[in-house]
Homo-oligomer: 145 residues x 2
Amino acid sequence: MPKENQKAVERIEYELTTLIRRAVYLDISDKKIGHLERAVYLLLRHLDEFGPSRLKELAETFNLDISTLSRQASAIEAKGYILRFSDPTDGRVSLFKLTELGREKLITDKKMRIERYHTMLEDWSYEEKKVFGELLVRMNEALID
Amino acid sequence: MPKENQKAVERIEYELTTLIRRAVYLDISDKKIGHLERAVYLLLRHLDEFGPSRLKELAETFNLDISTLSRQASAIEAKGYILRFSDPTDGRVSLFKLTELGREKLITDKKMRIERYHTMLEDWSYEEKKVFGELLVRMNEALID
DNA sequence: TTATATGTTTGTATTATACAAGTATATGAC
DNA sequence: GTCATATACTTGTATAATACAAACATATAA
């Protein structure tokens, strides 16, 4: 059924475009989840998941210019969420790692975000949530290129 | 199984955050889909779907300030994609509608976007695409608040 | 008919971003 | 070993999207 397949893809295109708009807004608005801005949350999450990272790595992860990450990291460092230290094997490299405060902030924020998703999805069955999560993983793989 | 349910929600939170970052990047990068910027695409799509609209309506739809929409609409009007006309029942109101050029651009762009999704999802079964689309619809409903 | 409300535009400030130039360190050729 | 080049990062500058506030035009209601 190529026609139904076409419809399904069209719906995904439509709904994903809508979802991105709404989700980005939600992150910016008063109703935003937690205390951390999205960029900060993602950076802390990356450090938590992958350990100490250099600017170049972060820039590539987020598809942003190194100069942008340089400023972001400095701002987050100034807040005390991350710590800068020199790579002992290469004096040019600044590595960043989470501070205890940063880790606490990340955990708190993650909890709040997950709590919000619990509420939003409270009338979904476990099976539906499971399948949606799995399909999102595949969608993310597809988006890498 | 509350524990598995928890894991499923955590995964959704994680993957959606990732998806938004990747998708927003894809819209900005060289690899961006089609010719229209996301804001323009969404505005044209709204006019196509809901017919002539006033600024206030567009601003609410996109959760943006009216002044922002005022400038966006002027820019899109200058490109010839939309047309401004006065509401005959209320002289304060500017209504906007698609021009023929605007509709053509929208159709072309939508085709390209859908084509890209076809490619990205080519190894998904029809059933998977169908379910994903349905769950996205529900996710979007959940996001409205 | 005048005060107030509504819809839009315009002025201004802020923020996130990219690109380019500059600085510090490392590496490799000789 | 020294110098040219490469790499990692920072800083200067420009741009674009945005919000907020003030201004302006039109409508509504007392």
